[in-house]
């Protein structure tokens, strides 16, 4: 199976999930929703195992740039959002503070993960205090 067929299957599965999900929501049927997701995951796993997918250097670069942009947008947004929630909280809507605290911990986790992975890849690819 090549890339094109893989993409066709992926679109088909997405349509299937969207259709069954909308049906499940309109019928208020949780079992249908769960089973459609599980079927989709299983089917995708089979399709992926049968596909000889090429992930070349351009695609890797595209993913790197997308990840960079996602981080650059998401980290400040979630950080500012958490700060705003903490500042807006008062006695009538105390839950905002709890949400803000959770979001700020998530922001810290995101920044820590980014820093650790940056350090790791920097060392892996020759940065740091190696031999000169």
């Amino acid at each position: 199976m090549n890339n094109k067929t893989y993409r066709r299957y992926r679109i088909g599965i997405a349509i299937f999930v969207a259709a069954t999900m909308s049906m499940a929501v309109s019928m208020d049927n949780t079992i249908l929703a769960f089973s459609s997701v599980i079927i989709a995951i299983a089917f995708m796993a089979v399709v992926r195992s049968k596909t000889k997918r090429i992930v070349d250097e351009r695609e890797v670069m595209v993913r790197q740039k997308a990840a960079q942009m996602t981080y650059a947008i998401f980290a400040p947004t979630i950080g500012m959002g958490s700060l705003l929630l903490i500042l807006l909280a008062d006695e009538s809507n105390y839950y905002l503070e709890a949400m803000g605290v959770v979001l700020s911990y998530l922001t810290l986790f995101l920044i820590a993960l980014f820093s650790i992975s940056t350090l790791y890849f920097n060392r892996k690819y020759g940065g740091g205090h190696g031999k000169e």
């Binding site: 090429i54 250097e57 351009r58 670069m61």
Partner: protein, 58 residues
């Protein structure tokens, strides 16, 4: 020149057809590895296939 489709070239280089198109259209600078592969495939020196331009984002 070499009478080869983009698909065939992509398959030989083990990259996607989109990558071949992007290189042809000057939208993507290939790695040294891929550039050498291309040069060997066409039996030409790298400088004849690629031209160095300053201030181009890779």
């Amino acid at each position: 020149m070499h009478d080869m489709t983009q698909e065939a070239l992509a398959e030989k280089l083990q990259v996607s057809r989109q990558t071949v198109i992007a290189i042809e259209n000057n939208k993507y600078n290939p790695s040294l590895d891929l550039a050498f592969k291309l040069a060997r495939m066409f039996d030409m020196p790298i400088e004849e296939i690629f031209e160095y331009e300053e201030d181009r984002d890779g």
